[in-house]
């Protein structure tokens, strides 16, 4: 996809990556809570060149009825990429990859949300990827957690997410599209910063045990940076800028 350069240098001798970042530097991240009037909660995130919009509905009636659970509320997540989100038109029908990511994000949010308070209801999370540039699942998870908080769904903690990875035998933070395609490993991490618990951890690639540990450490530190921005987004919406 795109005009990927076969001879591109992923990491130069000064430790600068293909897009000019240092090894432990995330891309520019902007999160905004709210914005969609008709959804109960919403969030918009720009994570480098990723642009993702999330809407949350609920708790509300479950349709179809047989999906409802008398003991607890259920969480449903739809991750969807717009046809124009990637270089070549993507078929809007849910692909195998999107179904997997929906499931992965749902399972990463489940430890945080407390739906046992709302039996027989559902909380729906709709994630629309407007523009993709590697690491959409982390950006989507980050935004989904802000949108859930905006909707007033009780949560034990926010979930912040970022990817760690390996390119040119070096552990890096926040893998972009080029590094994902040509790099050696990609490890998305979802993390609850206050509870210090990991809710999502995937790994595509080969790492030694030492590199693996380093990746987790780097990723968790990155998540803490993302968490600060999530906090800021919610504070800006609910408590005004510079209030208090």
């Amino acid at each position: 996809m795109g005009g990927r350069d076969a001879t591109m240098v992923l990491l130069d001798e000064n430790g600068i990556r293909c897009d000019g970042r240092k090894v432990d530097e995330p891309r520019r991240i902007m999160i905004r809570a709210g914005g969609l009037k008709n959804a109960d909660g919403s969030a918009y995130i720009e994570f480098g060149d990723n642009k993702i919009l999330v809407g949350v509905f609920g708790p509300r009636d479950v349709h179809p009825k047989h999906m409802s659970d008398t003991d607890t509320g259920i969480l449903r997540v739809r991750y969807h990429m717009e046809p124009f989100s990637v270089g070549e038109r993507k078929n809007p029908a849910p692909s195998r990859r999107e179904i997997e990511i929906s499931k992965v994000i749902k399972e990463a949010l489940e430890p945080a949300v407390m739906l046992d308070k709302f039996p027989r209801t559902a909380v729906d999370v709709f994630i629309e990827v407007l523009q993709a540039d590697g690491g959409t699942r982390c950006a989507a998870l980050t935004a989904a957690s802000v949108a859930l908080a905006d909707a007033g769904i009780p949560m034990r903690d926010m979930v912040a997410a970022i990817a760690a990875g390996k390119v040119a035998d070096t552990v890096i933070l926040d893998v972009n599209n080029e590094e994902d395609q040509a790099g050696q490993a990609d490890m998305p991490i979802g993390y609850m910063p206050s509870l210090k618990k990991i809710t999502l951890l995937q790994l595509d690639g080969v790492l030694t045990p030492e590199e693996y540990k380093k990746c987790v450490d780097v990723g968790v530190k990155g998540c803490e940076l993302v968490y600060e921005l999530q906090k800021k987004a919610l504070h800006d919406k609910y408590f005004g800028k510079g209030d208090e």
Binding site: D40, G41, G58, P59, R60, D61, T70, A112, M114, K117, F118, P119, R120, T121, A149, D150, A151, G152, I153, P154, M155, R156, D157, M158, M192, P193, S194, L195, K231, L234, H235, Y238, F239, G240, D243, E244
Partner: protein
């Protein structure tokens, strides 16, 4: 008291120590963690968070405003702005000698009607049971419906009803507040109605502002001079 108030979001540690967790907080080890966006309040022995967002969760004895969605031959279903529908049995309206053959439910309440109701019973297993057989309850014939966020209802009422009394005094309007965030305003003069609605909407938007009572008062008075 005021110096202990804090703006919190989910996951924020409100305080640590031997406190009793109340609304919207959980105990995790010795930390008390907020589960929602809101304002935390620490009392002598307990901690709670007043939410700024979220849906209405029915509580027994709450006064709510409901809209009739539909009826069967035995009961009505009310939209109470919650994740559950309110269940209003026909006996409640027709009395004990209600007969499904003889009495027509649509003759008393049609779909779209507004009713003031009280939550009679609610638990995890069933939809909330509501009643309208009490003083001040029943069908609402006149007035305008204003929808605000249910989490801002306490702000609209104010301390011991101070905010709502002020609005009623200044505009001569009668305001019925449902705990579910639906408010019915009725007033004899259209100016009073408009002003009362505007004041309610203002509270809905600026619920987190500290000296809101003064601001609303100011707004109500300024309008007086103009008209």
């Amino acid at each position: 008291m005021d110096n202990k108030r804090k703006y919190v979001i989910p996951g924020d540690v409100v305080t640590t120590g031997p406190f009793r967790p109340e609304q919207n907080v959980i105990l995790e080890g010795d930390k008390i963690i907020s589960t929602t966006i809101g304002i935390s309040e620490i009392y002598d022995d307990s901690v709670k968070v007043i939410p700024l967002t979220g849906k209405y969760i029915p509580k027994i004895n709450d006064l709510v405003i409901g809209k009739v969605i539909s009826h069967t031959s035995l009961s009505w279903e009310l939209d109470i702005n919650s994740c559950y529908v309110g269940f209003l049995p026909a006996q409640d309206v027709f009395g004990r000698d209600f007969s499904a053959h003889a009495d027509e439910l649509a003759s008393k309440l049609k779909s779209g009607d507004l009713v003031a109701a009280r939550i009679a019973n609610f638990d995890r297993t069933r939809d909330p049971l509501v009643t309208i057989s009490d003083r001040d309850l029943g069908k609402i014939d006149s007035g305008d419906l204003v929808k605000i966020s249910p989490s801002k209802v306490p702000r609209l009422i104010g301390k011991r009803g101070s905010m709502i009394q002020m609005i009623e005094m200044a505009t001569n309007a009668a305001v019925t507040i449902g705990q579910n965030g639906w408010v019915v305003v009725s007033c004899e003069t259209p100016e009073g109605l408009l002003k009362a609605k505007k004041a309610i909407e203002m509270i809905n938007e600026k619920a987190h502002v500290a000296n809101l009572t003064d601001q609303v008062k100011e707004m109500l008075e300024i309008k007086d001079d103009e008209s």
